[in-house]
Amino acid sequence: MRRSLILAAMAVLAGPGLAFGQTAGAADPRGWLGPFAVLVAGFAMAFAAGLCGLGQGRAVAAAVDAMARQPGAAARIQTAMIIGLALIESLAIYVLVVAMILLFVQPIR
């Protein structure tokens, strides 16, 4: 059941690539990888945003918990939280950069 679902998903995903590849032919400078690159960029950004949100949510939850227990140390906790959030967020930013490379630069054709 699961394998057939995966196969169906792969077929659906492969559809636009093959169709574009056949219709566009050699004249298209983007090649047959172009539609795949668009799909992959979108899905990559979706996964990265979701998981980055999960991670940042955990970090903020822990920080707010700590700030509620120790209001005196709120400023230091907030600074540490912002640095941690920046480090977590940079992982999603890497995916954004990769997605933009896939969309706009397309080094592999």
Binding site: T79, I83, A86, E89, S90, I93, L96, V97, M100, F104
Partner: protein, 263 residues
């Protein structure tokens, strides 16, 4: 990205946009510094007062993070912070390009930080002592492995500094451009002006909602992101520099104590 984003209004032929607008940032910062220090007074007023508050805030931050040792590096840190903040905010002015939305500018800033903190560390501790601290407090057999891992993690620092600033700014610009230009001007408002009655109603209402959403939510969000990214860049710079300085004490402590010194 030229497909969806409007090119800046002011362009010099043959010179890339981010260089032109870096010059604008430089002119603005030089002008503010000149105005602030032209007529120094004991009781500051106007521009001098404002700049003193800004510098005092940065100094307070340095004292909190690095201690009084860090005041020597105030020029480097404050210059980076003011430049990045001004460049980030400049990219929000309609018709202007943001220098920090280009990889070259952010990579230049990150490389300055990279070489600066290694230089500071080497000058503070000497080259051999500084290199020794890359191995960390581990048994002798593990030291080569730790050394390689540390080198890789140090090489990743400028990369992550570069990409974080660049990605945040470009991501925000693409978001604004898509919502305002593609969805708004080309889509909804174009539909409203197309002449059909339902298009005028739906497109007009949608265009109004879009303008309120952009001006009321996305712009303040971008201003917040600009401030936050400048703060984070400066904060990480301070952490890297204090790491390069402070490793001396930590290393000596673990050398003498061996096991009791570090935790």
């Amino acid at each position: 990205m030229d497909v969806i984003e409007h090119p800046p209004i002011f362009r010099l032929p043959g010179i890339p946009d981010h260089v032109t607008y870096t010059w604008v940032v430089m002119i603005v910062l030089t002008l503010v510094a000149f105005l602030a220090s032209r007529n120094l007074q004991l009781v500051p007023r106007g521009t001098q007062n404002f700049m003193e508050v800004v510098i005092e805030q940065i100094q307070q931050l340095i004292d909190d993070v690095m201690g009084h040792e860090g005041r020597r590096y105030l020029p480097l840190i404050a210059t980076l912070g003011l430049f990045i903040l001004t460049a980030n905010l400049e990219s929000l002015i309609p018709g202007f390009a943001g220098p920090t939305a280009n990889l070259n500018t952010t990579a230049a800033c990150a490389l300055v930080v990279f070489f600066a903190y290694h230089y500071i560390g080497i000058r503070k501790q000497g080259a051999l002592t500084y290199l020794k601290h890359f191995t960390g407090p581990v048994p002798l057999a593990l030291k080569p492995l730790m050394f390689v891992i540390e080198i890789i993690s140090h090489l990743a620092r400028p990369l992550s500094l570069t990409l974080r600033l660049f990605g945040n700014m470009v991501g925000g610009h693409i978001l604004l451009a898509i919502i305002f230009f593609l969805m708004g001007l080309h889509g909804l408002i174009g539909w409203a002006l197309s002449g059909s009655v339902p298009g005028a109603i739906v497109g007009g209402l949608g265009g109004l909602v879009m303008i309120v959403f952009t001006v009321g939510f996305l712009y303040p969000l971008k201003i917040l992101v600009s401030l936050l990214q400048a703060f984070i860049f400066v904060m990480l710079t301070m952490l890297y520099i204090s790491g390069a300085i402070e490793e001396a004490d930590h290393g000596h402590g673990s050398d003498h104590g061996h096991g009791s010194g570090h935790h």
